[in-house]
Amino acid sequence: MTGDSPSDRQLLAALPRQPELMAVLYERHAPAVFRYLARRAGPPAAEDLLSEVFIAALSASSRVVAHDSGSGLPWLYGIALNVLRVHFRQQRPTPGVTRDFGMDWEAVDSRLDAWAERGRLRTALAVLSDPDRELLLLVGWEGLSQAEAATALGISHGAVRVRLHRARKRALHALEKLQDSDPGSSGTHVTTLYSKEQPS
């Protein structure tokens, strides 16, 4: 412990007996968890989901898994992932739109400046399983180390290494195929991709 403030590891250890310590974790990690939620569900939904994540963490504090680094953030991301799945499952389906229980792709596309880029990331990541996609984005969007991502997903570090390598390779391959099929501007192509997505 350095200075007066307890480390995350100490907070997590004391949390089952002292639930009020969750407020300290909130002050430390709420901005990062908000960004995690906003990247996947959009900023408007992130506000509501943020409290749900920390309240769910309060209920799960007896099963807390601290990362070796002592940071509580990977554990909170793991809880946020579950909260997001429930959120997307509860949403009413939109006719003509394929539901994705882990991502609001309109929110993702709105962050890409060029129209030509929109839909490309979705296409690249569509070849991955949900856990592999989440792993890739935990590292790419959230900047987690492989070991931290392992804690967030509740898998071993070795499994993360293998799965991350495989996921990157497959996503890159899908992107290259997309590029080959439409080497020029891809605006038209993206439109075609969206129109293919009809509910089964």
């Binding site: 407020a23 908000f34 506000e47 920390f54 309240i55 962050r111 890409l112 790419g140 890159l172 290259e176």
Partner: protein, 73 residues
């Protein structure tokens, strides 16, 4: 940086939560913490046990048992 990394990096930027957004979630969390502390406190548990072993609690259990026994099969 390859094409995939560029796309991931380009789509990573989101606005930070405003003080209002973070404050609202904090208020909801605080309410949940207070509820949890009440539920977990020894005084709260003792009061709950006292109620169940008291006259009202026993009567409640008795009535519930009678209803269970008298339910037609």
């Amino acid at each position: 940086m390859n094409r995939l990394d560029e796309l991931i990096a380009a789509s990573a930027g989101v606005p930070d939560g405003t003080p209002d957004e973070l404050g609202n979630a904090r208020a909801a969390l605080d309410a949940a913490i207070v509820a949890r502390m009440r539920q977990d406190s020894p005084a709260g548990r003792k009061a709950a046990n006292r109620w169940w072993s008291g006259r009202r609690g026993m009567a409640f259990v008795g009535v519930a048992g009678w209803r269970q026994r008298s339910r037609p099969r």
